[in-house]
Subunit: 916 residues, 2 copies
Amino acid sequence: MAHKWVYLFTEVNDAEKRMGSWDGVRSLLGGKGAGVADMTRAGLPVPPGFTITTEACNEYYANGKQFPEGMWDQVLAALKDVEQRTGKKFGDPTNPLLVSVRSGAKFSMPGMMDTVLNLGLNAQTKQGIARLTNNPRFAADAYRRFVQLFGKIVLGVAGDKFEHVMDEYKEKGGQHRQDTDLSSEELDQISERFKQIIKQDAGIEFPEDPYDQLKMAIGAVFGSWMGRRAIDYRRVNKIADNLGTAVNVQTMVFGNMGNDSATGVAFTRNPATGENILYGEYLTNAQGEDVVAGVRTPKGLDDLAQEMPAAYQEFKTYAERLEKYYKDIQDLEFTVERGKLYMLQTRTGKRTGRAAVKIAVDHVHEGLISKRDAVLRVEPAALDQLLHPSIDPKAKLSVLTTGLPASPGAASGQVVFDPDDAVNWARDGHKVILVRTETAPEDFHGMEVSQAFLTARGGMTSHAAVVARGMGKPCVAGAGEIRVDYKNKQFSANGTTVKEGEWISVDGSTGQVILGQAPLVDASMSGDFGEFMQWVDEFRTMGVRANADTPRDARVARQFGAEGIGLCRTEHMFFGGDRIDSVRQMILSGLDYKRLERELNGAQAAKDEARIAEITRQIEEPKRLYLGALDKLAGMQTEDFVGIFKEMDGYPVIIRTIDPPLHEFLPHEEAEQRDLAQKMGITLEKVQATIEQLHEFNPMLGFRGCRLGIIYPEITEMQARAIFTAAADCLKQGIKVIPEVMIPLVGDLNELTDQASKVRATAEKIKAESGQNFEYMVGTMIELPRAALLADEIAREAEFFSYGTNDLTQTTMGMSRDDAGRFLPLYVERKILKDDPFQVLDQKGVGKLLEMGVQLGRQTRPELEVGICGEHGGEPESVKFCYRTGLNYVSCSPYRVPIARLAAAQAALGDKTRDK
Amino acid sequence: MAHKWVYLFTEVNDAEKRMGSWDGVRSLLGGKGAGVADMTRAGLPVPPGFTITTEACNEYYANGKQFPEGMWDQVLAALKDVEQRTGKKFGDPTNPLLVSVRSGAKFSMPGMMDTVLNLGLNAQTKQGIARLTNNPRFAADAYRRFVQLFGKIVLGVAGDKFEHVMDEYKEKGGQHRQDTDLSSEELDQISERFKQIIKQDAGIEFPEDPYDQLKMAIGAVFGSWMGRRAIDYRRVNKIADNLGTAVNVQTMVFGNMGNDSATGVAFTRNPATGENILYGEYLTNAQGEDVVAGVRTPKGLDDLAQEMPAAYQEFKTYAERLEKYYKDIQDLEFTVERGKLYMLQTRTGKRTGRAAVKIAVDHVHEGLISKRDAVLRVEPAALDQLLHPSIDPKAKLSVLTTGLPASPGAASGQVVFDPDDAVNWARDGHKVILVRTETAPEDFHGMEVSQAFLTARGGMTSHAAVVARGMGKPCVAGAGEIRVDYKNKQFSANGTTVKEGEWISVDGSTGQVILGQAPLVDASMSGDFGEFMQWVDEFRTMGVRANADTPRDARVARQFGAEGIGLCRTEHMFFGGDRIDSVRQMILSGLDYKRLERELNGAQAAKDEARIAEITRQIEEPKRLYLGALDKLAGMQTEDFVGIFKEMDGYPVIIRTIDPPLHEFLPHEEAEQRDLAQKMGITLEKVQATIEQLHEFNPMLGFRGCRLGIIYPEITEMQARAIFTAAADCLKQGIKVIPEVMIPLVGDLNELTDQASKVRATAEKIKAESGQNFEYMVGTMIELPRAALLADEIAREAEFFSYGTNDLTQTTMGMSRDDAGRFLPLYVERKILKDDPFQVLDQKGVGKLLEMGVQLGRQTRPELEVGICGEHGGEPESVKFCYRTGLNYVSCSPYRVPIARLAAAQAALGDKTRDK
């Protein structure tokens, strides 16, 4: 027997038998085809039709864009079946069968071919319809719609050319008419004009033979699968290219046969809020595309209950039945033709994160699904919108410009341009939004007090974006249309100027910059969401910690359910208040001190007494300044750690020793350099010479991480002192502290041994001094390929590993996150890489090192604690990979903790990367 | 029985039996101890003595610096044996036994403890010696020497303090006396002064008990094993710390007993040239340290033949016997005491590379060793000095300053400061040396015509150094004392000013900068060296290619025996002549072109006809300029490739497509930027904006390698066109061409597939156009960890791999070669890393990726050709590692090809990393 390319709606059982599962049927017939077939099987009123399979589509491409052998014959046979069921005949002027042709992939996909309605119409069958309905205007309008849709969708003629003609007729003689006001004759004239446009643009006569029409429409559906928009959509939504689309050919029913006819769409619950009401809209005397095109304003379903109570009741019954049957919210299409209801589509409804949670919780309470189902049903990423304030969806907004949605959430505030101004305004009780061309580390104090940031330059991984996500503040970055004028304290975009102190709102989830104070809706972990997250934790087995640098971050992290801190970046504390002065003192005097120390060693080796005396004299001052600055910092860091330990009472806190290159702490601009020179009592030249001396070609691969601590052991010791002093203090107060000290950028066991020995010696000293016997661990970040490759050696010293997948991605792929903007977007667009590896963990390459590291590390130390603290720790697919790799925990920004918890729970429930 | 810590010289058979091999004996007794014991066994006149083993030394450290149990008793017993053999008694005033105490590790090691002579002397035994020799002055001098040496070497008192006293006596009353002129009384006074100094400085009375003296001397020898200089030496020479040193205690004989006594050192052949003559020097009436200290000028051995013919003849006989016995050049020490010859040392002689080759060749011709032995005997790195011109070792030089020895060889030339001046001077027939503060890519044309480079800044891996090594030109980099004054065209150092046109010489092997024209000795591959390299190739199985970018490089590479080119960096050709103008045109117009191309795609997708027309118009000019520049470059590159293919007739040539980030081709200085703007007919602002736009934070990880070719496919196509056009041309001329096109910085199969398809399409096109059916391959560099990890996938497309270990080291270790200067030297010094990984391949980490890549790649494609083209390809230990890993070839700078050939031959002969 020939391969079966075509399934009648009534042959759904055959399809299910062949594919072995309902998911298989959906793969074969597409979501839409499976839905109508399933409704047919359930006895719902579905206009007869058939589906050409996704296999046929794939074969079409394999075949050099030819229909597979036998397919067309099967289409003709199926058409015969439909003719018998309807008593109509395709192309027969006496009683013509008209059909709709729709694409239908497994996953609903905008960008695929739209529906072609009324296919089968031509000069003859139009007359037949006119006769049969006794309504020539209806026939003329149906034909006009068909020619227009076919021309635009199948033949690719620009839609506005048709609209111009329509407008011309509507405006004829200065009138302002609706499309329903056009006469039958006018509509016929319009159809003729359309055909001329088609001939001119597409270079062919409009096909009058209904079979030609069908053939072309099917080809167009197949073709739309590889259209640019469809490919883009699949790329963004990670849907495989080889799924193919099905084609649904279905008997037309008419919602435009008069005022007893209608067409509409509905969701079984509110897809925005999750509220349990039948939610939708419809148009009387209209066809489906009118609802979408917004030709007239549709009415709510409540009106349908009034207008056509029988149809409405019947539809409501079906809606409830379908939701119960599929155990999920359904997205329905229906048409009422002269009072009779037809069901045209059922599919799982898309919903917001907020609705997803509410519906899942309600479904559990209604006994429809289990908690397990509920947990598996919500997309982790969709939770994001529940975790930040958002702009009230009902509000009318005055959007000034749109930049990159760099850090989610929305906020309103008064505009400031300078970090110091931000501090002053905030001290006076103002809510401020910091607007900069771009931000730098020295703006940190201003960022800390701002509600949100807006920058003119920089991408999703710019300084502003990264800091914002870390702080959980909204950020719109790279808003290229704005021009910041620091001198006059104002910015402008698209002709509008905003001055310091004026209110704006930014939506970091959409990138919108809005004039004035937009109304906000708050985030909350209570209610349905709280209940849902409880279920999540019932299934979750892997730990979830947060990356948090301050007591405030730590508190937020706990509120979002973090079970500890996976990464506390001590150097982020270096920017707060006037600490940066001490840091800079430490750097400037430290350089002198180390240089002289080396000279002293040389002189001692040479037993050059005179030189020894000379250097010993010279070294005194830099040593005093260096150690003095360190002492100050130790005191301040101790306070920070006490704050964090208190918030994390009973939970582990991983603290990383200093990581960034020292030049990051020095000022870039001459004014600030001059200021620094004055503060330190040295010359501007000396400051600039130091900055010059510290300059690096590739700072990412430079003098940073443990390399700093090895050359400046006093810094590591200072930090260890602060950590353990805080631990002892807290323990004294009855707080349970679990400090884990993490050494960054280790590539060799010897590096870790050097640093760990200093940390351990300091810990023992403080234990002895304080009499407090705190527990602690020393471990390392695995963020260099060499560390993963030699994890067995490194685990001899490391009590825990934490994967720094940001840097590990950069080094493994040889790709600087700051510089990849010139090629990475194109790489993803052209599918050279499936995803941006800085957003979704590169499981194949970087992941292989992760697996090696875990395996080698546990070989040496079976109880080794392994986690991840790169930004991937909050990305659902990456979290699931971490679970499969056997990690003990993931750590992410506090605001992504619930997302990671959900992803971890789904992973524990065996959820694989989704088959898209 | 107690462990044996002490071996009499006569017990060498016991030692050999216990250790199982002569190498074992050398490990146990040290080189010196094994030598004297061996000579004793052979019946040569060796003063009796014994050796304390290296095991005792290691045990001493394991024991907290205590002699191991039983050792001291064994020393006393051995001393008894020596007393019996000599008839003298240790500490006996009537007939005192005096001994020397020397350190002696397995490998000869400067920085270890020097010899202590005359140990056993004190007030009493001094009298005994005076009586016995009837020479009170001799006794007094011996005592003075002993106190001085013991004080300095065992007790650590600064040597100049003793010298001051000696000088004081020599100059007494305005005289200028030799040490031999001092009277017995004066010497006694001096000894007393010495003892006071010792008491003051070391805080102890000078030990009068000979047993205390011996105990302290042995402890000092052990202690010197962990002295700073010894540790440094071991680090530099890669000798393990756990070998330990032996201590040799030997009966004193006296070369200073009058004019019938002498002491000297000799080599069995000339260690500088390899010439087969007994080569050495001696002093009459002197002790060993006088020869070393240069107190008097020693005489050549010819004089000894005249002065003491019997002793000379006997010594000559022993020397020949020892060389035949050890089958290698020997380094001997001897003393003549009252006419009687004593042999004090025999060990393998250190020699220059030149001598090593000559001696090995002569030994083979003499039938002493096999070719295999000869090949294994020469250190590959030692060949370096044969491969470059060098300064005549006999010349008197006026050294101005010393910088880093950045690229070996020596050259003389007239100083120029500007690359354009270099070109002009060279065109007029002058030999020039380019002196710059530092060099940049845009200086390339000036570097090309210079004999050598001298820079004030930059390290061993600075631009000047890397280019110089690639070109095989001498370079002294980072000569920090020189100040370059471009304005006045002069430089100065240490008060001397050198003006443009004045002659200097630089020695890139030592870092010396010399005023005037130093006489040079040329390199040559003929004679002994040529013969030796023939033998090398008889044993070698792995291929050796060269990294060569120009026909000139290729010719040198062939002369040095390269079997193809492993890396031709096409972009190096971009700097020659006025090509850089075309390159810059390509970059500037290419940026506009690509931006507009993207906009055009967008407009086409949106079917925005007006915008399409507008952009199509705008794009015309940049497109014309971009493609025009590419065409020009294609023409020029074709010529280059023809030149290279001709030189490499019959050998493969791997050509890498463009690799560096585009900003490297743009000028840094405003004057040049202005110049460029004028040439291109654009504004300076546009040039600067482009440079700003191309700026990268981490260029090493930025927009470079295949990423360029993917975004600018026209560049890849241009380069492929040039390569294959050249191949077709050559084939037409009967030249055998084997082009292999290499895509750099690949991290994913898709990248390679993209680029390979363009290269292959171009090849097929040119085959068709030219009618020439050349063979070619397409492969990739493996220089990112991800590429090695996914080598099985990448080998689906790649026909060959070439490891770019420079970048692979940078990414695997997360270490920028340009920035590592701040910590890497300290890492090596403190043994955190064993070697600088940019010099010696990191076998453990980077090597693991190498092994994985080879194994995975050959899994997919068993015939996969794998080589290495990083600078490690010319480093002997790395070459041996490559052999063991199964690589098909190594590729290195032309000037290191013979070194690589030798290392590869030694690897094939099973030579492991040397046991040091």
